[in-house]
């Protein structure tokens, strides 16, 4: 349990998707103009990460990893499908996103209107595929992988919402013209990343 809590806190603050790895920057910059849209996409990212990371973990452990197919028959112990892991991961993410889009559209039109435009964006959000690609490099079990997925999502949510809040306030400041928009946003993200660096080495005391 402590282990899970540690992974959760670590993936929110220390290994923050945005400030430590810069994953999902494109949509991060695109939707952080308004606080409301940022909350919408942030929530969608948490949800998609919480589901696709365990799915990808299952696919990786029981399908792709070297010797993963032994549960089918012991003869397949030497099979290593590592080569096609990209295709498997992105197929799972894209198919899942398409699936929720259809389910949400059918059962909750109001939620669909709120999230609608963001869902297709998520399929190509680097943080979703990035989280999947981190799995082979870290020895997580299923519970840990799920926690890591949710934590990463919460970290992304936190980052995008706080940047949106800062950008909304910035409407009142007098920024040099060519620096307006993207330029100043990058400098702010840099400063926020410096702030988040103070979490490095942070560990729960148990």
């Amino acid at each position: 349990m402590e282990n899970l809590l540690n992974i959760f806190i670590k993936s929110i603050f220390v290994d923050n998707m945005i400030f430590a790895y810069f994953l999902g920057m494109c949509s991060f910059l695109a939707v952080s103009k308004k606080y409301k849209t940022a909350v919408g996409l942030g929530a969608a990212v948490i949800f998609v990460l919480a589901v696709t990371v365990p799915l990808n973990w299952l696919a990786y452990t029981y399908l792709v990893k070297e010797g993963a197919l032994t549960w089918l028959s012991p003869d397949l112990a030497g099979v290593d499908l590592e080569v096609i892991k990209f295709i498997i991961f992105i197929a799972i993410v894209a198919a899942f996103v398409q699936l929720i889009e259809m389910v949400v559209e059918k059962f909750s039109p109001s939620l669909y209107n709120a999230l609608g435009i963001f869902l297709p964006l998520i399929a190509v959000n680097c943080s979703i595929l990035g989280a999947a690609l981190f799995l082979p490099t870290r020895d997580y079990n299923l519970a840990e992988a799920t926690t890591f997925g949710i934590g990463s999502g919460v970290g992304w949510f936190l980052a995008v919402v706080s940047l949106a809040a800062i950008r909304e306030k910035m409407a009142y400041s007098d920024v040099p013209k060519p620096l307006r928009g993207l330029g100043i946003t990058f400098i702010i993200v840099g400063l926020m990343a410096l702030g988040f660096m103070s979490f490095a080495g942070f560990k729960l005391p148990f």
């Binding site: 790895y21 810069f22 494109c26 197929a91 190509v124 680097c126 595929l129 620096l179 400098i187």
Partner: protein, 217 residues
Amino acid sequence: MSTEVIEKTVKEKEALLSKKRKALVTNPLDSDNPVTIQILGICSALAVTIAMKGTLIMAFGLLFVVVMSNIVISAMRNTIPNRIRIIVQLVVVATLVAALDQVLRAYVYEQSKSLSVFVGLIITNCIVMGRLEAYAMGNRPWDSALDGLGNSLGYAWIIIVIAFIRELFGAGKIFGFQVLSKDWYVANGFFATPAAACIILGLIIWGLRARNGYSED
């Protein structure tokens, strides 16, 4: 016979490297740069730029994937059903990236280890998908190839400039060679952090936009 005639008329209509086609390559370098103007492909621009060597490999990798996927999708553009086009595009791109990853592992293993997940993340690099959606889905293969070339070069020079600054000040090195002597230069750890990449990119954008007279709002 008939195909020859068609090819001839096409050629007469437009030279292989006409003015319009040159603009396809040169515009993304400056006034329509994918990173600074279109805001695409930022993730890897920031994450891989800690040293020149890895950055060059990343730039070539992206060039290969963008040009090849533009050609393939452009050649198939009339047969792809509109509803599932994103998945078709992703599969093509993912296949190219898997091939690239194998080549990198075979020839530059150390570098491919240090680039870790970022080679795989070329799949979701917005430049790739952005060019496929915006250009290759509606244009001929040769034009699409040029468009991909221009955009990936526009991306390449930005990340190479960032990597140059970061490696020079962050470690006093260029391509791993000590340029600023350790006797009098103390490596500035700030430039090795991701935050520095953000701030440098912000300043580059400022400079380029001031030059082009481009501004948001």
